[in-house]
Symmetry: C3
Subunit: 331 residues, 3 copies
């Protein structure tokens, strides 16, 4: 579906300089651009490369001194964002025809909206509800009473335990497990053995959340585990029972959140971060990769980067690293 | 299935104070309790909240000065344990009718006990044995010659490689992979290439083990990987080939155990702990989250907490952290 | 399939001392050897044990003073390597008869070589190509346009996203997810919300790669993620979008590589290593377990071991640890 540079500029609300009739057929990086591709640059130093490439149009920062002679330029305050939005028009959508594949096994009591796409060998349990335009990929298993909203994408081989509630436009990648039992036991002091503490709570995932491949999110023990609107979770992340994650939180791969942790809005976590139980990370804090927060700590500081185990402000951490290196050299 | 407070008190061997005829219909946390719920408190300060809640009965510590005027109290030396046991009577069991779903594919040589529950699309290989009352959830694949004991719960989309042996009352959560090849190669010094070392050993999982979602446990290279009775393993944990784990060990999420590690009884590991190859953790040691044990080390000390990488007694580790912070401040 | 000691010696190019007619029927460790087993020793101190065992033949270092009186000895410069190769003759291959299981769902446009083995309930998408002798285990899902080479082993419940390209003799263990979306968002500075950056690139996996259970490898955002020939990846490893991994790289369990990292040939990584975005690890470097490499760093040093976060040469790191311990003691 080719689009003109003018159409794209209008769609992303960019100011167009140059030939608006140029046809665009796709997006690409500068280094692999070919005829018909739209590319973007965030700083001037890449602009020369972009102009020299085979790309047919370029999204550039608003401040760019536009030269109308060569390729059409689309000036925008946030070029990367404009590029991401342009991709919605220029990239082919996956070909998912609505319908229920005959090899899937849908419980008669399940309520599927008219235009869902249910892939091969999907299993859908009793009383499950699935909203409009949602896709469930091959081999996924949806437990009884689960509710999945509209326009969700559940990739193949996902497992959703019973009673999980998922909002709209949620993306769940393959192998993810949602709503599994939390890790809770009671040690009998007489026998030394661990007995299972009941794990009968719920998991609620709000709108616009994305969950990476093979991540695991436990439901609450007695109450609820909650993932707030717009939160993005990478691959192989663990979220324990009763964790409360706010809105627009970003959690990189292999990070683990222990039971009852509270993560407020707009927190950013690097990869392999470890959050112990009952920790609170206040709004807007940034946790560097591999940092560790001990049990019950509160991390406070919008925009402040924390690093190390136990995590401290990165400034302090780097100062300590420097002092230690000098000490070792002196010896 | 409502129960009276008296029935629950008898079942968990608690001393009842108050009206034993009160009907109980479920369990809950204090904060979300409603009429009919049983709750528990472990310290006096929560007792007022519990009494003020809508809960119909409360499990309390033995030492509580019981006031028979309000709600029935169940006095017990271990309230949390009594609560976990009461849940067995008060929580509805999952509705799993014995039977083999017609969409499952069971090899004719497999021996399934009369009252197993085999879910949709399960694949069961040659000569597999499955014991009484065991449930295998939708989409799970059980390799040839595997043996699964009685009263096990194998959640959906689990993969069990051939020849794995699993005891009784074992719980395996979705996405777990049991019996995969260990990570063993031999580098040919002439070519620099890595060739596969044979991974033909076994995996044995004893009674009452629980394994979290998406955890992976490799079988032995030539011999056996063993997970001892009562051991509890959280999500996304890795257990390498030839690892020997004792009884009643607790391993939190994302911890990794390299090949041939030996973990003795009653060891407790926090999340994201890293155990290198041929390490030995002696009985009862406690490894703090994210701690790391280098190759071939022995960790000794029942009840001692170790922390850091390389792990040392937490007292030492905290002292070092303090000394470093002071050094950095002085500079 | 019994073999004589002579046949094995010829196959692995070892020098035979002793009775070449001895029949071998399997391989084992020394401690569990029984009659008919081949074992190996790498140092003299295990030789006595091996001779005293029930094993029927022993692979030993070339320098061994061979005593022809007892068991047949196979002298080789790399005993472990010779043993691994001997296993190819002495271990039974898995019984995988070529054919397409009738419960699998293969798109009519897919091109499967004549002697592939497609297991139960496999789903193969549009235009997929699968090469000679490749096995795809039960429950695996292969997305449209994926290409899988010859003699590959795809274990049960693997998910391969569309367009992934896999070379020859590649092994993928259960639960692995190949080609998932990278973790890329653009924050709209006006709304504070994260929008999805397009993840439309490719994943290419070259010959002789092995990928562990439940590992996840994202495809490129706009370009390609590449795993070079002979690279071995353990369980629960994360590889982000646009990562470039060279040849013969070894990556232990739970290691994570962030977007656009470059790992050159023959790098070795311990478990739980964290590689931030745009890092470069030059050829032959060795990263100790749990070490962390901050964003955009370059690690250089063939054969040098790095440790800690941020990773530094192990010598330095150990010196710093020692200095810190002494400082804490002095206080």
């Amino acid at each position: 579906m080719p689009r003109t540079a003018k159409e794209i500029a209008d769609f992303v609300q960019a100011r167009l300089v140059g030939d608006g009739a140029v046809q665009l057929t796709g997006i690409s990086s500068i280094s692999s651009a070919s005829h018909g591709d739209l590319v973007f640059v965030e700083d001037e130093k890449n602009l020369t490369k972009a102009i020299a490439s085979s790309a047919s149009a370029i999204i550039v920062p608003e401040s760019t001194r536009a030269d109308p002679s060569s390729k059409p330029l689309l000036l925008h305050a946030q070029p990367r964002l404009a590029f991401a939005r342009a991709a919605q028009l220029l990239c082919a959508l996956p070909d998912r025809k609505p319908g229920i594949h005959p090899s899937s096994i849908v419980h008669p009591s399940a309520q599927l909206a008219a235009d869902v796409t249910i892939g091969q060998r999907v299993v859908i349990g009793e009383s499950v509800k699935v909203g409009d335009r949602t896709w469930i990929g091959a081999g996924s298993v949806i437990g009884g009473n689960a509710v999945i909203g509209q326009s969700c994408e559940i990739y193949p081989n996902v497992t959703i335990y019973p009673n999980v509630r998922i909002g709209n436009r949620v993306i769940v990648h393959s192998g993810a497990v949602l709503g599994s039992d939390g890790f809770g036991y009671v040690r009998d002091e007489k026998t030394g053995r661990n007995e299972k503490f009941p794990q009968i709570g719920r998991l609620e995932i709000e709108d616009d959340v994305e969950i990476g491949a093979n991540s695991t999110i436990d439901r609450g023990a007695l109450d609820v585990t909650r993932i707030g609107r717009g939160t993005k979770i990478d691959n192989l992340v663990h979220v324990g029972h009763n964790v409360q994650i706010g809105e627009d939180v970003v959690i990189a791969a292999q990070t683990g959140l222990s039971g009852s942790a509270v993560i407020e809005n707009n927190v950013v976590m690097g990869g392999q971060v470890g959050i112990a139980d009952h920790v609170k990370i206040e709004a807007g804090a940034i946790l560097g990769a591999q940092s560790g927060i001990p049990s019950k700590k509160i991390i406070r500081g919008k925009g402040v980067v924390f690093w190390g185990t136990p995590a401290r402000p990165i400034r302090e951490y780097l100062k300590e690293l420097g002092a230690l290196a000098r000490l070792a050299k002196k010896e």
